[in-house]
Amino acid sequence: MAEGVDKAREEFFSEAQELVESLSRNLLALDAAVRAKTEDPGLVNEAFRAVHTLKGLAGLFGAKRVGTLSHRLEDVLDSLRLGRLPLTESVLDLLFRAVELYGDALSVERARSDDPLPAIDALIDEFAHLGSEGPSGTSPLAKFELDQAMLAVLTEYEEHRLKTCVQQGLLLYRVRVDFALATIDRALEDIKARAKTHGEVITYLPTGASTGIDTIELDLLLASASSLAELEASLASNGAIIEPIRLRRVEATSARSAPSLGPSAPPTPSPPAPLPAHSLSERAPDAVEPNAAAHRAIAQTVRVDIRKLDALMNVVGELAIVKNALARMSERIRAEGGRQLGSELHSIQRSFERRLGEMQNGILEVRMVPLGQVFDRLARVVRQIGREMGKDIRLVITGAETEIDKLIVEELSDPLMHVVRNAIDHGIEVAEERLRVGKPLAGTIALNAFQKGNHVVIEVEDDGHGIDETALVDRAVVLGMVDPEEVAQLARSEIFNLVFLPGLSTKKEASDYSGRGVGMDVVKTNISKLGGVIDLHSEAEIGTKLTITLPVTLAIVSALLVRIVGRVFAMPLTSVAEAITLDEKQVRMLDGREVMTLRGVTLPICRLGRIFGLAPLPGVVPPKRQYVVVATLGSRRLGFAVDDLQGQQDIVIKPLGKSLSGVRGFSGATELGDQRVALVLDPAALIEEMLRGSETARERRLGYG
């Protein structure tokens, strides 16, 4: 029972999260619309609907803070859609703050904490001060010969839309259609969809004068820029009779020609309300256009706990072992003379292998989500920080549809956010400076994502002033991170990599957002935890580009099996560039490290047998010739010396137990079949360790070797 409640609560949180994300997307679109000075009533409506649903859910689960926030936010959005409140940048600021607060409120509720969230009250206070300005002057509707009975039953929202359309100079039409009751749902949707291509359907009302007992006649009020002939051509097939609503004569007046529509005026009741019993206009104000297609789409998706997918993936791993056992069995039967039986078993095993492969890919596909999820969140941050720092930022996103493992996406949000903050804070110049150097006033931040083999590459680029290499090196020297004598030998890429050292920041004054010297090292650590690497390149006055390379998935990887001093290790192929035979004569000592030259480039060599302190196994003869597996991660390369290459295999990496959490250099272990377990090397960690050439590696060697 309690478990059921918990599960429902979990679902509430994930659904709430989705609603907040969709709200955020709507606000971003609204922001774009406001900047472009256009208007999209649908967006405000969608935002309103999301908040309304959220309010209901919060009430159901006793999430008071979420409920309160939603309630007030709903009021604001309602005022916006009714036109009582103009949509301005500052109103949007408040709305975006509400989105941020939802995050806080949800995590507080999730922890079942009773901590008050003063930020919510503060925001609600500001909501209250927004004030509402109603449209003034005479109603623009006065000039149309509108049926008073129709005007009287318009909801406040419909009336607002009607006025807006009229103000935009659209013409009004009455579209009269006789619907068969049996098919009215579909027929009405159909005609609405057609009419929408010409303008906006303000409302639809029964006329009360149907031709038969099983039909109902509706009037649709349509605002459109199209001519009568165009509309007739488009809608006649639906049996619609279209009449333009004529303009009044100039002197025409009416007692109700300018209904008072003050800020708090309720829809004016009209004495002769000719509403038939089955009125279609009796809709709650929040019931906006029912969107049948969207509902169907929701019904066809399920929410799945990613741990269940992990469990499935484990089963696939087990099955792969069964498959290998089958293969061995068929070999054995054939070798022992049972050719016929052996071949049959072999073909069964092959078909098993294919199906298993399909299943594996299927599960992997389910885990994939578009990067757009995290990019949306970044867009919000860009807007917010840009505004607060007074910098005009244009965000250009490409490749939002690139898919990556859900687990990676979850972990990407924080590092990327930090990178983007840095770009706005340190990278993009203030307006005067940009003008001075002849750059466009608005700074550009480009987020590009694309797949590259088994990797996904994310680039964060800005057109700011770039990194001051001299200042960076000076600072590193002052902090004792770089030997002053080595400065001259630093390659440019090495200089840029200094950015990722802990405690280094070139900005003299820390801002609220970045520049306190914490951050880029954390970003780098987080990215490497995901098996990724980060590289930075910068050109003075032109800008800075950060490139993050990540594996597509963490669930299953192709690995190269290598043998080192009689033991088998797996090395993820994602980081293997090539494997070559090791020519001992080419190995030289450079700066206390072994290196060789590969096609003219110096390649540091790491003898895994030595750094792991592997003792020779009895009966295993050291091989005459060794191999070098060249691993590349970003711009770094390292050659791992191994005794033998044993082929390639898809593996499921399982984490090592808690008792081995202190052991570095392995990302986990995997089963090879025949019950053997192989350790999976962590090239990123090993490269880091070797190239750092730090004391710790040597100490470890002494300690355990």
């Binding site: 033991r567 090592l656 137990g657 008792s659 081995l660 250099g665 089963e671």
Partner: protein, 162 residues
């Protein structure tokens, strides 16, 4: 002497929640070298006869390595080393006890030979940590004397927390 036994008694009752003073408690006994040890039976989920164990470079010296038991990755601890006893290579009789730890991890305990289940009344258990080596006393719950035998009762929780 009577006082010591009493003190040990209450200590045990505290260290092993859920045990009843009057009831019999079950332990699994095994051999390390010439001595017999035992751990609480409820902690042991399975006994496996030495699957291939893969050594883990850079791991603490008392960890033999890792093995897979039907898909479950298990870290195997050399109990002799952890208890500070003389180390000897595994034999045909060697077994790995899969034990549930408090952290949820399943740890394998390498022992020389599995004996049998011992049922001990509380009166048959005494705490005599002082007669044992210093390395050992940290991990010992007490000593059981089932029918004149001598079994060292080990505290699993303290042994697998590293």
């Amino acid at each position: 002497m009577a006082d010591v036994a009493k003190a040990g008694h209450s200590l045990l009752a505290r260290r092993m929640p859920g045990s009843q003073q009057s009831g019999l408690r079950e332990f699994l006994s095994f051999r390390l070298g010439a001595d017999v040890y035992a751990v609480e039976l409820a902690r042991i989920r399975e006994i496996v006869s030495s699957p291939p164990v893969t050594e883990v470079p850079r791991s603490p010296s008392d960890i033999v390595g890792i093995c897979s038991v039907r898909g479950l990755l298990v870290t195997v601890v050399d109990l002799r080393q952890r208890l500070g006893l003389l180390v000897s290579p595994p034999t045909k009789l060697s077994r790995i006890l899969l034990a549930n730890t408090d952290s949820g991890e399943v740890v394998g305990l390498l022992v020389d030979e599995v004996r049998h289940v011992v049922r001990l009344a509380s009166t048959e258990i005494e705490v005599t940590g002082s007669v044992l080596g210093a390395d050992l006393s940290d991990h010992v719950l007490g000593v059981g004397r089932p029918e004149g035998d001598f079994v060292v009762l080990l505290d699993l929780a303290s042994m697998v927390e590293t």
